[in-house]
Symmetry: C2
């Protein structure tokens, strides 16, 4: 059995259901032009990316760590990056890659996306990891803008693990759609009335 | 001289400046990994896309028109799609393609992105075109999710107009970054306190 990351509550019975209904999810899937080819390509991407989650997180954390306004999210009480906080989030971030590629987009998945969203807002940021951080939320603008690096950087990992029969473009596109869908869901707690 | 679209106020002296400062824009450009190659690729994309804006809008409006929850944004007082409203927005949408590829990312550009954002919220939706629509805002979730079709669909138009020396992947990537940046800016009025 794989050890689950600290603070990972995907399967917890205490997880609250999402206010986003399955029909609304269906609309968002239409928005991102989701289709059966994407489902297959994302599953295959999962096979390729799962063994590389640690390397992917190295790349993402290099990017975050070298970008002051991004690493500031992980400040501890002394204003400096809190390594324990970074490490705990990293574990869940790795697991997120696996979940995105392998889970069904169902009510349980929606519930956990809502939880992830809240953990970026004043409602729940820092609470999961018991951090006393002066950073009380992740600005929504950055959450949205980070669709780009999270999409672009997986390409080399898909290429690394792909065999000749694989269509890297198709996997990358499915990943892009799934990431954008996820971020759209994560923004709900930021603007519940206009979401 | 090209006729400007109805309701297009990019150069109006009445245009309010954006609350987003140039340093904050700089952070968002870092988020999307913007670089000099992107600037060049986006300018070249502009040369290719500008003569095709009408065909691109055909593709986008086909998608919107065939997706009930998207076309519902353009409802008139009778609840049916308002063709005059669709046409007016279309003119500005075409112009947006040109602006995104050719304008500098400066304070004027930021001011107009803020204006575009507001025109999707209850503050200003319908007002520019004098429409009495039961749709009072564009849900933020759809605004974000539409990053995907707006990114993916330009590829065929880039390929159509590209010459042998052009790098379509680079142009597509620059477009993706610029679109995501734009959408991030447009969401500010939805969640000003947590943006």
């Amino acid at each position: 059995m794989t050890t689950l990351p600290v603070g990972y509550t995907y399967n917890d019975s205490s997880l609250e259901s999402s206010p986003v209904s399955m029909p609304i999810l269906g609309e968002l899937l239409q928005d991102v032009m989701w289709n059966e080819d994407d489902s297959r390509a994302l599953r295959r991407a999962g096979e390729i990316l799962t063994p590389q989650t640690s390397e992917i997180l190295d790349a993402w954390y290099d990017f975050i760590g070298s970008t002051p306004h991004l690493v500031s999210t992980f400040r501890g009480p002394d204003g400096k990056p809190d390594q324990a906080y970074l490490d705990k989030v990293r574990g869940r971030f790795e697991r997120w890659i696996v979940d995105l590629c392998t889970r069904d987009f169902d009510a349980q998945w929606l519930a956990y996306q809502e939880e992830i969203g809240k953990r970026h807002t004043p409602d729940k940021k820092n609470r999961t990891d018991g951090v006393d951080s002066p950073s009380t939320y992740v600005p929504m603008s950055h959450l949205i803008a980070l669709i780009v690096p999270v999409t672009v950087t997986v390409r080399e990992f898909l290429e690394l693990g792909a065999s000749e029969d694989d269509n890297v473009d198709a996997m990358q596109q499915a990943w892009f759609k799934a990431v954008t869908l996820s971020v759209a869901l994560w923004t709900r707690p930021y603007a519940p009335d206009l979401w």
